[in-house]
């Protein structure tokens, strides 16, 4: 038996050695002895398919462990170390890419551009966290998101924000989501990636304004916990929706709440719902009347939002490089002589006629018009629903995490004196 094991090991060793040799270049690269190494134009560099699938497997493992620590084990420490691993692996090692947040754009582009095919890895990075959230709440935010991990680890003295401010700022992620989908669907840009404030830190390389933005978020995050997750993250919108329907969700207490209120200040994200006050919820007439009015106003919000979005399409579409170039050449024809303008020179060298360029730009602008209606209507719906929710009273008797907003970080669990 031992002999067989030895033979198998030798065989495996030879196999790996051969595989390694086979991957070596037939002719070695010339060595000029300057010590200069060619920088790669792509960050991060493309990986072998097997390694991409490894990332998916690691995501699955991390999500499973995060869900286990949050719901079953109830271990804040476990989640903390898991987020450290995520930060190191998905953040610094993988340079912040591939990322579930950015994958929204790939999905949007593949839905609207038949010429673009999303990779299976990207699709899985988009879907897996959503599926996990549907079952276990936002455990992705707790332990599998490098952006969330970085902010979470740097919370120093969080302050509580008033509800009106949280709700108002909470509209921004919806707006960001709308614009990100619109820009991706029209093939304009991947703005989530372009304006990711942390990716420059992961890669130790970014434009100056992005460095400033990243540092600003970190400094702000020391006192306003997870500012990006709460007031910007577009993927958080989808996770919020999924988490509201989650089958199992983190609970503050493992048994019955004893109303000790010790956990009331434990959440740095203001994601704990308090028991309802019976006295106030009794004033139902005010609530019902307002509910009816606000509910009836929702279609109006949608229409006005869509109208405003469609009206803004001309301005927004200027972000598209084709539209921008076409308008630049129309308004400033002399720019053709500007050899330093690489966009113009690249267009001129492509041999494409001005008419074709304008036609292409017009098609894109038309897409922005339709997209403007949809994005604006969606924002109108979000605003109308947010207002409507202010007159909806749900009866709560215990302190419990808000299923949509809770990041399942597990901080509150340590505050609860109730043990199983």
């Amino acid at each position: 038996m031992k002999k067989w094991i030895k033979v198998s090991l030798i065989f495996a060793f030879l196999l790996f050695s051969l595989a390694g040799m086979a991957q070596q270049q037939r002719f070695p690269k010339p060595e000029f002895g300057t010590g200069y190494s060619q920088p790669t134009p792509i960050t991060p560099e493309p990986r072998a398919l097997a390694l991409e699938y490894t990332d998916v497997v690691i995501l699955l493992i991390v999500l499973s462990m995060a869900s286990y620590f949050a719901i079953r084990k109830r271990s804040r420490k476990g989640l903390l170390w898991l987020s450290v691993f995520t930060l190191l692996y998905f953040g610094f090692y993988r340079d912040g890419c591939i990322c579930s947040i950015g994958s929204i754009q790939n999905v949007a582009l593949t839905l609207f551009d038949p010429g673009y095919a999303i990779s299976i890895t990207t699709l899985l990075f988009f879907l897996i966290p959503l599926v996990f959230t549907l079952y276990f709440g936002r455990t992705f935010c707790a332990g599998a998101c490098p952006l969330g991990a970085m902010q979470d680890l740097l919370i120093v003295k969080p302050i509580s924000l008033p509800e009106w401010l949280r709700k108002t700022l909470g509209i921004i992620p919806y707006l960001y989501l709308s614009l990100a989908v619109l820009f991706a669907a029209t093939g304009t840009d991947f703005i989530i990636c372009r304006y990711d404030p942390f990716v420059g830190i992961f890669r130790m390389d970014a434009e100056f304004h992005m460095v400033v933005l990243g540092i600003a978020f970190i400094l702000m995050g020391m006192f306003v916990a997870r500012p990006y997750c709460r007031f910007l993250c577009p993927y958080g919108v989808l996770l919020n929706w999924m988490s509201r329907f989650s089958k199992w969700h983190l609970t503050i207490t493992p048994a019955a709440c004893i109303q000790c209120k010790l956990c009331s200040d434990s959440c740095p994200f203001d994601a704990i719902d308090y028991p309802t006050d019976e006295k106030q919820s009794k004033n139902r007439t005010w609530g019902v009347n307002r509910f009816l009015v606000y509910a009836l106003l929702i279609p109006l919000w949608i229409f006005i939002g869509g109208f405003a979005g469609s009206k803004a399409h001309t301005w927004i579409s200027k972000a598209n490089p084709t539209v921008y170039l076409a308008e630049l050449l129309i308004t400033k024809p002399d720019v053709r002589n500007d050899l330093k303008n690489l966009d113009v020179q690249a267009y001129l060298s492509s041999g494409k006629s001005m008419e074709t360029l304008v036609k292409e730009a017009t098609v894109i602008r038309r897409k922005f018009y339709t997209g403007g209606w949809i994005a604006g209507g969606f924002m109108g719906l979000v605003i109308g629903m947010t207002i409507l929710r202010q007159v909806v009273y749900r009866k709560r008797t215990d302190y419990q995490p808000h299923k949509g907003n809770c990041y399942s970080c597990g901080r509150c669990m340590g505050y609860c004196p109730v043990k199983k």
């Binding site: 108002t168 209120k261 200040d265 719902d273 106030q280 405003a308 053709r336 492509s350």
Partner: protein, 608 residues
């Protein structure tokens, strides 16, 4: 460690790391500003040194100083970059230590206090939320509507003609692109007399070269057959067949001794295109990776009458395409109808000048994806300029309106990329545009572009153009075949694979067909049957296409040696010449004279 000590320790670490972070951040900022301000290659000192060098070009000391300064500036730049990178890591490390120590300090100091008495259902809070969300929504709507007023849709207002008219050139250029063309060009046809005997055609348009001058209502004379035969309207003479209708053509000359050299004029830029002649004017083009030019020489004196830069063409690539050394940027020969001259270059630019060098129109057909470089020459018939526009991506025959440059028709063809040029073949009394490519030789209707016949017989990278004589078409390519085709039967009549040309095109007249190979054999065949009459190996090889004039076959091998053979069933050399340098172009004949382009000169050869 006791609680107090832990507190002190964490606070001290936080303080030290905080100060460290601030220091590193300030240094980084300083470094960044310095890097942004001082770009190594834009250094004033370096610029002034380079300026000095232009005044003292032979100063080795100055060159060494510039090199040292350049190296120093680059070192400083990369050193700064290294500092930024290292500083970034230090700052990150410091920030992590600072945040963690501060977190430990605050964690140790924190106590679980009295829980706040908060009320989620606070009515005031809800009303505040409603108000602020409404305000936010309203602001977004106002911004959206405001954006519609603040932005102008320039695409809707775009007008093609207006835009082109506005595209004025830079002030430092005295020549202008004229793309806007006349709406009602008057075409007089057919003129069967030679309208160019006195040199410049009377109806040639003269325009002010310093102004944007749209050409309007230009009177164009379509040359008749006699005029075409009297001139050299394109590559390989009238109809592109390599047969010249001239008498008393010279058979002896020597560039070294100057024997029978009437004049020779240096050609400013390199090009593999052959002389094109109309009236008293000889046209050539030249180009390198910096610029492209079209030249007009006086046929009598060799003096350059005009030289025009080809630039500012809409869609023209900013950087030249990659071409091989033996193709260059100006391989296609020009074409002319006596009214205007048309030139094409490797970057897909095609340009039209009138006979006096005034630019009429120009356009870019798209950068040709061609691994050697675009080489197919232009040819004209009536009011159309034909282009065999073969690229690795697509193969097509284009017909441009000679007056406006607009595409009259284009025919997408099957097959592979070819470097051959189109010819005009008289098939049953009607001229057809004939092309040779892998896998077929085909004829097209010059009026519509419709494919009239096609015979699959070619293979490989086809360089030689086809030839036509006596209602038959001949095509050849190395590693393929030499074939005789009867277009009226849409069939191959005969084929041979003994002597195959790689570059030089075949030529046929009086029932004879000649093929010149790149390994130095000139072979003569019976054009009708394909029977070989003779073959003769002389010289290093032929790139220049053999041509027929005055019942003589003119050949130039790559060493520049000219051999003139008798047009007959026996290999008989009746004349010799020597260019003294490499010859790959094809000579042109007008009025007892031969015109030849060598890498450096344009020669006029004949009896003085």
């Amino acid at each position: 460690m006791e609680q107090d000590n832990k507190l002190k320790f964490s606070l001290n670490i936080a303080l030290v790391s905080g100060i460290f972070c601030i220091t590193v951040a300030l240094l980084l900022l300083l470094n960044f500003m310095q890097m942004a301000k001082n770009k190594p290659l834009e250094s004033k000192a370096l610029t002034s040194l380079v300026k000095r060098l232009s005044q003292e070009p032979n100063s080795d000391e100055l060159k060494v100083e510039i090199r040292n300064f350049d190296l120093l500036a680059r070192k400083a730049y990369f050193n700064s970059q290294w500092q930024v990178k290292t500083g970034g890591y230090l700052l990150l490390f410091g920030a992590i230590v600072f945040a963690l120590s501060l977190r430990v300090f605050i964690g140790l100091k924190a106590k679980i206090g009295e829980p706040d008495v908060k009320d989620e259902n606070d009515l005031t809070g809800r009303i505040m939320t409603q108000r602020w969300v409404m305000i936010t929504g309203s602001v977004l709507i106002v911004l959206g509507l405001g954006a519609s007023f603040a932005s102008v849709d320039h695409l809707q207002k775009y007008d093609v003609n207006e835009s082109l008219a506005e595209a004025k050139p830079a002030d430092d250029q005295d020549k202008v692109e004229v793309i806007k063309v006349g709406e009602n060009p008057q075409i007089v046809q057919p003129a069967t007399t030679d309208s160019t005997k006195n040199g410049i055609p009377a109806n040639a348009t003269k325009t002010d070269t310093s102004k944007v001058a749209p050409v309007t209502a230009v009177k164009i004379t379509i040359p008749g057959i006699n005029a075409i035969k009297a001139n050299v309207p394109g590559f390989r003479g009238p109809f592109g067949n390599g047969v010249y209708f001239q008498k008393n053509t010279p058979v002896e000359w020597d560039a070294v001794s100057g024997k029978n050299v009437i004049w020779k004029t240096p050609v400013p830029k390199k090009g593999y295109n052959s002389p094109v002649i109309w009236g008293n004017k000889v046209f050539l083009s030249g180009a390198d990776n910096q610029s492209r030019e079209v030249y007009c020489f006086d046929r009598s004196s060799g003096k350059i009458l005009w030289k025009q830069l080809v630039d500012k063409i809409q869609g023209s690539p900013a950087t030249p395409p990659k071409v091989t050394e033996d193709t260059g940027f100006a391989a296609p020969s020009l074409t002319t109808d006596g009214n205007r001259v048309y030139a094409m270059f490797a970057d897909g630019d095609i340009i039209c000048f009138d006979m006096d060098g005034n630019r009429v129109w120009a356009r870019n057909l798209g950068l040709p994806d061609n691994h050697y470089g675009h080489a197919s020459s232009l040819i004209m018939w009536k009011d159309k300029v034909f282009i065999q526009y073969d690229t690795n991506k697509s193969r097509k025959l284009m017909a441009l309106n000679a007056t406006t440059g607009e595409t009259t028709w284009e025919t997408v063809r099957k097959g592979k990329i070819s470097w051959a040029s189109p010819i005009l073949a008289d098939i049953n009394g009607k001229y057809q545009v004939v092309l040779s490519t892998d896998p077929m030789v085909a004829g097209y209707d010059p009026e519509t572009g419709k494919e009239l016949w096609s015979v699959d017989c070619m293979s490989g990278e086809v360089g030689p153009s086809p030839a036509s004589s006596g209602g038959m078409v001949f095509a050849v390519n190395e590693y393929a075949k030499l074939v005789g085709i009867d277009p009226s039967k849409n069939a191959k009549v005969w084929e041979s694979d003994e002597f195959l040309a790689e570059v030089a095109s075949p030529v046929a007249a009086n029932g004879f067909l000649f093929v010149a190979t790149s390994y130095g054999v000139l072979a003569c065949y019976d054009a009708k049957s394909g029977e070989k009459y003779w073959s003769k190996e002389e010289g290093p090889g032929y790139y220049s296409s053999p041509v027929i004039a005055d019942n003589k076959v003119y050949t130039f091998d790559t060493s520049g040696k000219m051999r003139v053979f008798d047009l007959g069933k026996e290999a008989k050399i009746i004349g010799e010449g020597n260019a003294g340098e490499k010859v790959t172009t094809t000579p042109a004949f007008v009025d007892n004279r031969m015109y030849l382009r060598t890498p450096k000169f344009l020669y006029c050869i004949g009896k003085k």
